[in-house]
C-alpha cells in the first residue's frame, strides 16, 4: 500500500531487464519519490477529564502517566508499528506520539516514553522508537469529535511489542 516507487521497481528489476535502461528509468522514477516529512503535531481532545493527568505535577513531581495508560517496562527495547499507518507527534505532550491507521478506523493509539520516535508513514512492523518505560493508551472516536480512552486489548499491544515474522508482513 505504501511502497515507494523505487521499492516496487526493485521487484521489476528481479525479472531481468537491460541494466542500462534500468539505471535510466530508476533515475527517472527516483524523481517521483516523495521526500519524507514529519506530520504536524496532532491535537486530540479527550472526552474524559481527570484531576491528575499526564504532564501535571503533584508535590513537585511530574505525572508521567494517567488513568487509562498501560505502562510497560520496555528496558530499552523497540516498539513496532502495529499496522501500516502514520506516527504523529502529540500536541502539548513532548514525549508522546499518536499512531493512526486506515486498517483501524475510529481508533488512535498513544505511545508515550519513546526516545527519538520515527515520525511519518510506517509499515507494519517498522520500529517506531525505543524506551525504558512505554505508556500506551487506546482512544476511540466519539460522535462529537472527542476521543475516549478505552480498555485496550492485548492484541494491539502484542503487535506493537513483537516484530512480525517476515512471512506475516503483507
Amino acid at each position: 500500500m505504501t511502497w515507494g516507487w523505487s521499492t516496487k521497481f526493485a521487484f521489476r528489476r528481479n525479472n531481468g531487464i537491460s541494466i542500462g535502461l534500468g539505471i535510466a528509468l530508476l533515475a527517472l522514477l527516483s524523481g517521483c519519490q516523495a521526500t519524507p516529512t514529519a506530520p504536524p503535531a496532532r491535537h486530540v481532545v479527550l472526552q474524559q477529564q481527570w484531576e491528575l493527568d499526564r504532564g501535571d505535577r503533584v508535590a513537585g513531581y511530574l505525572v508521567s502517566a494517567g488513568l487509562g495508560d498501560v505502562s510497560i517496562e520496555l528496558g530499552g527495547d523497540s516498539v513496532h508499528a502495529p499496522f501500516d499507518g502514520e506516527v504523529a507527534p502529540a500536541a502539548g505532550q513532548p514525549s508522546c506520539v499518536y499512531f493512526s491507521s486506515s486498517d483501524v478506523p475510529a481508533y488512535l493509539f498513544r505511545f508515550c516514553g519513546l526516545r527519538r520516535p520515527h515520525l511519518g508513514t510506517v509499515r507494519y512492523g517498522d520500529t517506531m522508537g525505543s524506551g525504558e518505560i512505554l505508556h500506551f493508551a487506546t482512544l476511540r472516536r466519539h460522535p462529537d469529535g472527542t476521543w475516549a480512552i478505552v480498555e485496550p486489548s492485548n492484541n494491539i499491544l502484542e503487535r506493537s511489542l513483537q516484530p512480525p515474522l517476515q512471512s506475516a508482513r503483507p
Partner: protein, 123 residues
Amino acid sequence: MTPLIAGGLVFATVGLLFDFQGMRSWLQESATSTTTEGCETIVQANAQLSREQLAQLLTIPERDAKERVRQIVSAPYCRLPELTVRSGVVAEREAYPLAFDPKTRLVILYEKDEYAGYRFSFE
C-alpha cells in the same frame, strides 16, 4: 560508428517498448492489489461506492446502527480479518473501492453491530 549508434537506438527502443509494457502490467497489478489488500473474504466483487453514497455515509454519526450504514452502502467489496482493538469487543471491518477513484478504498469498522467509523486507504 554509425551502425553502432543505430544498433544502440534499436536496442534502446526495443528495451523501452518491453519495459513500458511491463510497467503497464505492473501498474494494473498494483491497482488490483490495492483493492484486495488485506481482504479475508470477497463479498461482492463488483461493489463500489459512488459519490452520492459516500456523501450520505458522511452524515451518519459514529455509534449509529450498522444497519443504517448498510442501507446506504449495501454489501462491501470484501471483509478484512476481525480484530480486537478494545478488550472483549470484536471489530468487523469492511472495504469499498471508490467508483470515482478505484485506487482508494473506504474501510468501515463496526463493533457489536454499531458503526464505529471509517478511514480512507490510499495506494
